[in-house]
Symmetry: C2
């Protein structure tokens, strides 16, 4: 599968509404404009109405008087965050998207006990990559949210990623908990956690996937490497989801794929009542579009 | 600089002898045969003389009756390791190379208190990559030896890599201690260590390089990313050496560069009296040759 397939799948979905917090941002509007051009998503733009009107009439005219776009005034970032989260909570929208405001301001509303989007699960970042040398999409989690997850957190991070993968049509994905080696070494927490997660999967504590580790990256993704090593594993060489042991490892893999391998990526936050699109300024316009598409494809699971 | 430059530099060096422990291994002999064809290095092959004679006469005839190759019989792997280490200790050789024996058997001799190659420094793995998208060589350390180095160990790991980089002509290399973010966050040890290492470099406790961090990978290697982020740093966007916070991060970057980005690599163990070539079966023949060349180029520093 390619990431362009995500755009097609997103266009096939009907009635998925995205609530955008503080939408008065050219880069965010640019991505939304592209999504609307490709016929996916309806958008509720929460933010400064005057600024939004100017931006739309100057540059994003396809969003003006469009039945799939509506504007809701908010007098501050905090209010934009609150209103957008409440819209998702009230099921008026199925995806939340961050605009031009601090991530912390938005997440505070997401975690609000009265109207927030908590499910009791860990929130985690799920990125999906199209790489030049592999046919299949490869999921990397967690490159951005959880610093040093423990065993229970890792189990939930896997479950979040499995849910997203399933949402785009990858049924029973293969999950590789990544370490530096393939053997259990008590001095390396990543290897011990990987072994524990493997047995948790066999006992039905982690569902909807085939998980086997520890695996180093080469033996997780490359069948040739796994065969050379003589590994007997249902995951080795064919992993769809790479569970990272800590944020540094995830972040370095994410950036390495973009900057060294020229990969394409879309990413969302999973684990809340609805997928959350949290793009950053450094993401390309293409990447922002893939992220919206990934969220829309994942939205039915919530 | 390209890795092919290393082969040229290695050929310019005179009289660098490599002591090979348990050389009776087709893959190791293949790399040595290529090195000899390219006119670099002299090799003392410690190992089972009968097996070596057969292998050389069957396949590696350029190593037979060659003034740059001699065979020394050892009746066991342990003895081959001991004799090769002693040869380096006695300055009959300036590089140590692992052949067909367990890494642990060789390292035990390296660490022997009487005739080993200890310097009091941490031993660390230094890999140098040629990547398709960047002009300069990029060093990654430590992807293979130190599991979770503390601050002092990290300082020595940097010093080891600086020594290798300098040895191949990269004077005063720029070092980026890698983390997931660019700010100091006490909840992320990698960021705190990176800030401490930066100040240690400014105070002259880490020499021969310009070190500045924490930096995420994108802002360490890409000037465009660093400018986009508005970072003011002498290292951002131009790092030669990437210091990894832990073995998982280093290992994943190493494997990602090979398998996703199609990079070429050479690697050695630094920090002992002489560079140690520790190739593994999964390394390509080309990679083994680059590793020998890197060790030979680095040998004069010891």
């Amino acid at each position: 599968m390619k990431l362009s397939t995500l755009l097609e799948k997103a266009a096939e979905k009907q009635n998925v509404t995205v609530a955008v917090a503080a939408a008065e941002d050219p880069e965010v509007l640019d991505a939304i404009s592209q999504a609307v051009n490709r016929d996916f998503g309806s958008f509720i733009l929460f933010g400064d109405k005057d600024k939004l009107d100017v931006l739309l009439s100057e540059k994003y005219t396809n969003l003006l008087d469009n039945p799939f776009v509506c504007i809701r005034h908010a007098k501050s970032d905090k209010e934009a965050a609150e209103l957008s989260v409440k819209a998702v909570h009230a099921q008026q929208a199925a995806v939340l998207m961050k605009g031009n405001l601090q991530t912390a301001v938005l997440l505070k509303e997401v975690l609000n006990k009265d109207y927030g989007l908590r499910t009791g699960n860990v929130l985690s970042h799920v990125a999906v990559f199209e790489t030049p040398r592999f046919e299949r999409l490869i999921f990397v989690t967690d490159a951005a949210m959880n610093i040093e997850p423990g065993l229970e957190q890792k189990a939930q991070i896997v479950q979040n990623a499995v849910s997203i993968a399933t949402g785009i049509g990858i049924h029973c994905p293969r999950v590789a908990p990544i370490a530096a080696v393939e053997v259990v070494n008590p001095a390396m927490q990543a290897t011990a956690d990987a072994a524990l997660l493997t047995q948790m999967n066999r006992r039905g504590q982690i569902k909807g996937c085939i998980l086997d580790g520890p695996l180093a990256l080469d033996n997780a993704i490359s069948m040739e490497a796994a065969k050379h090593k003589g590994l007997k594993s249902e995951t080795a060489g064919q992993a769809d989801i790479l569970l990272m042991p800590n944020i540094e490892t995830g972040n370095v893999l994410y950036k390495s794929l973009i900057y060294f391998a020229g990969a394409k990526v879309g990413g969302i936050i999973a684990g809340a009542e609805a997928p959350i699109v949290l793009t950053s300024r450094s993401d390309s316009a293409e990447s922002k579009l893939y992220s919206i598409a990934l969220a829309i494809c994942s939205a039915t699971n919530h």
